[in-house]
């Protein structure tokens, strides 16, 4: 068997092009997604620091680079403000978090976790990455145009509400096209992931023996598959409205700088319904894979079986299912029927139930564990803590009367950064650290990892927690200037400064991660196959994982969380056929 395997990998060493550029290997594609989205993380972070500068020092020139970027005095021109915030949001969601969680980790881990050699459709997988590249090119054109052109480059937030989005400057069209490409890429990816997980599991790997990472990827793929095309439909309509003069979203009587637009009959609320029908499920696309990975990291880090495995799986399913019926909680103040709002308020609150089941199970996993406070575990614990804060603020906003006050303030900004940055991104930090050896065959530096974790955790909270306070006081989001609120918010300017300085430090702290990452790729300590004593299948093969993953299809004998079994060894790989049935296999 194994000789055949060697023969397979020895014949025809792929060319450089096939190996690194047009590769169909899931591990390469995963890494490509990882690098690409790290670049955009930097870009998007930079854009928002410009925004933050202006909020801390309104109208003052941006130090060092202001003149270069904006000319004139070097201050952020108010006309460019919405461009900066919108681009930040669009990039972070569609070019950073989704590609990292789904594109990078989904690709890299799914075939390894199900014990197979690659995705079900490797060519489709490569296509999905290159569609994403198409999107990258389009959005970069948009970014460059936004900075370069002197005219107003208004956008309409990442939520693209018409009529503004239908009549905003030309950057908007590039963004719409870019998002359509991302959507296609996601759909193809989802088809691949679902098929791979459903059809290519190794013998013995029943559904309820899958690691939670892969379960989360599976459910996320369902969301992607069913929600993304709806977004694609909406984006198509909006694009046609802009370029072909079709009308879906423009109401009668609309005037632009005194000129009638000449359309009638469109329904702006229609956009909001379709958009959120996609985008609420999408916020779970932004977090479910992170929940899965954090579960695995916590179980390994606490040397304990995950608490309530099946409850974890079911709560993922429940979150995903409920996620489709809560979308209008983003529209409480849009003028929709209040009775409808009531229904959405209740369904939104229901979603907190499965979310809290997960939180309690994570705590149950940590409880009395032999916790190793290494970088992956620290980041995973931070994920749980931050997710709790973000989830709690979510429940406040879910109550319609409260949301009327909170909507479109910095409170919302605090909420979703707690779930997306505090939650997902911390899980990503942990996951990068954890799976790095399997990706590159070397370990990342632990000390630098801890420093990065501490700085990120500290500055994240000092930046975002205060946003709750200014938000409650009424600081609106997406406003270049709040001078007109001087009376109510003027005395809070020091908070805005503190947010900005913390955000800058948070950005700088990421340099530690970048340094650690690249330094370790080349100079890190060589990794053993299983540096964390973890159970899942990927740890049974050498680090880095070989071209075809497994020489022989692994046979799975039990679930992925058999930790702390005793006998001097506190873990048991999924491929070990256990003589003594481990304790957590009770039914």
């Amino acid at each position: 068997m194994s000789t055949e395997g060697h023969a397979g990998s020895a014949h025809a060493e792929p060319s450089f092009f096939r190996k690194y550029i047009w590769s169909t290997n899931h591990k390469t594609i995963g890494k490509q997604f990882l690098f690409t989205s790290f670049i955009f993380l930097g870009v998007a972070g930079f854009l928002i620091l410009l925004v933050r500068w202006n909020l801390a020092h309104p109208g003052e020139p941006v130090p060092l680079i202001g003149k270069l970027l904006f000319g004139g005095s070097g201050a952020v021109p108010p006309e460019k403000f919405i461009f900066l915030t919108s681009m930040h949001g669009t990039l972070m969601i569609f070019f950073v978090i989704i590609p990292i969680l789904v594109g990078a980790f989904g690709n890299f881990l799914i075939p390894l976790h199900v014990g197979t050699h690659d995705m079900a459709f490797p060519t489709l997988n490569a296509l999905s990455y290159w569609l994403f590249w198409g999107a990258c090119i389009l959005i970069v054109i948009g970014i460059v145009m936004g900075f370069a052109s002197p005219q107003d480059q208004d956008m309409a937030g990442w939520t693209l509400y018409p009529p503004l989005s239908a009549y905003a400057g030309p950057v908007m069209t590039w963004v719409l096209l870019a998002m359509i490409f991302v959507g296609f890429s996601s759909i193809l990816g989802a088809v691949n992931y679902l098929t791979t997980i459903a059809k290519m599991r190794a013998p013995g790997l029943s559904w309820f023996r899958l690691p939670l990472t892969t379960w989360a990827q599976f459910i996320t793929a369902v969301l992607q598959l069913l929600a993304t095309p709806v977004l694609a439909a909406a984006l198509t309509m909006l694009t046609f409205e802009r370029v072909l003069g079709m009308n879906f979203f423009t109401p009668g009587g609309l005037e632009l700088s005194g000129q009638p637009v000449g359309h009638s009959g469109g329904v702006p609320l229609l956009w909001q319904h379709i958009f959120w029908f996609y985008s609420h499920p999408a916020v779970y696309i932004l977090v479910l894979p992170a929940m899965g990975m954090a579960s695995d990291l916590l179980s390994v880090g606490a040397r304990k079986a995950i608490f309530g495995y099946k409850a974890m799986v079911l709560s993922i399913c429940a979150i995903a299912g409920l996620g489709f019926v809560v979308w209008a909680h983003h529209m409480f103040v849009s003028g929709m029927n209040p009775y409808l709002g009531m229904g959405f308020m209740i369904s939104t609150m229901l979603i907190a139930l499965p979310s809290s089941i997960k939180v309690f199970n994570w705590l149950g996993t940590l409880w009395r564990g032999q916790i190793r406070f290494d970088t992956p575990t620290l980041n995973a614990i931070s994920f749980v803590a931050m997710f709790v804060i973000g989830g709690l603020s979510g429940i406040y906003m879910a109550a319609t009367p409260v949301d009327i006050h909170l909507h479109d303030t910095y409170y919302i900004v605090a909420h979703f950064h707690y779930v997306v940055f505090g939650g997902s991104l911390f899980a990503v930090f942990g996951a990068v650290f954890f799976w790095f050896p399997k990706m590159f065959g070397r370990m990342m530096n632990e000390t630098l990892g801890k420093i990065h974790w501490f700085l990120s955790f500290f500055f994240f909270n000092s930046a975002f927690f205060i946003m709750h306070v200014v938000g409650l006081a009424g600081h609106p989001r997406r406003y270049a200037s709040i001078a007109f609120l001087e009376q109510t918010l003027g005395h809070m300017q020091w908070m805005n400064r503190m947010i900005t300085y913390s955000a800058i430090c948070l950005g700088l702290a990421q340099l530690v991660l970048i340094f650690n990452f690249f330094w370790s790729v080349f100079k890190g300590k060589k990794a053993e196959p299983n540096p964390w004593q973890a159970n899942t299948l990927e740890w049974t093969v050498p680090s880095p994982a070989p071209e075809h993953n497994y020489h022989v299809v692994p046979t799975v004998h039990h679930g992925p969380y058999e930790y702390g079994a005793g006998n001097g060894k506190d873990w048991m790989s999924q491929v070990e056929s256990a003589g003594a049935a481990p304790s957590s296999e009770r039914h």
Binding site: M1, S2, E4, G5, G8, S9, A12, P14, T24, N25, T116, H117, D118, A120, F121, P122, L124, I187, A190, V191, N192, L194, T195, A198, K199, M200, L225, L226, A227, T228, P229, V230, L231, A232, A233, A234, T236, M237, F240, E241, L244, G245, M246, N247, F248, G265, G266, V267, L270, H273, I274, H548, Y550, H551, V552, V553
Partner: protein
Amino acid sequence: MSEAHAMTAHGADDRIEAFERARLGMWLFLASEVMFFAGFIGAYVVLRMANPHLAVAGQKELNWVLAALNTAVLICSSLTMVLGVNAISKGDRAKCRNMVLLTALLGSAFLVVKFFEYSGKFAHGIYPNTSTFFSCYFLMTGFHGLHVLGGIIALLLLLLGIKHYGPERYTKVENVGLYWHFVDIVWIFLFPIVYLL
């Protein structure tokens, strides 16, 4: 070639598995397509309810006879497609080729009729920006037409490679067939809601 490795020990089993994977992949893809058209149809319903008069006026301009003809054409093409898939699974390659060709021809006939329908609209000064009703009309029938076009191209590709298919391997024929039925079904939804109701 990159899939050549130690795992492919049992050729036949592997082929069956690959077949099942491909079919599942196709079903999933079609599920996403359903949601794509559902987005359009949902928007159409909302816009119609917001502007009932536009729909009444608009439908007077539509030619439901041509559309009914097209419906018949597509239903026939689904039948020929089924016959083609059935033939190849029984090993009758020649019949499969004829049936696939016929399906492609029927599909093209649909597009020709569509072409006349559209040019009739343009001749009457009706364009996608005429009203929300016609925006929806051109959007939905246009995207459906593009899907038909894609289907025809897939059918032609099948014809080109017909000698590779046989009762043992006809995954692609089957998948193109699934896609073709989907395109057909979308039309069966569009026809009444756009032209009749």
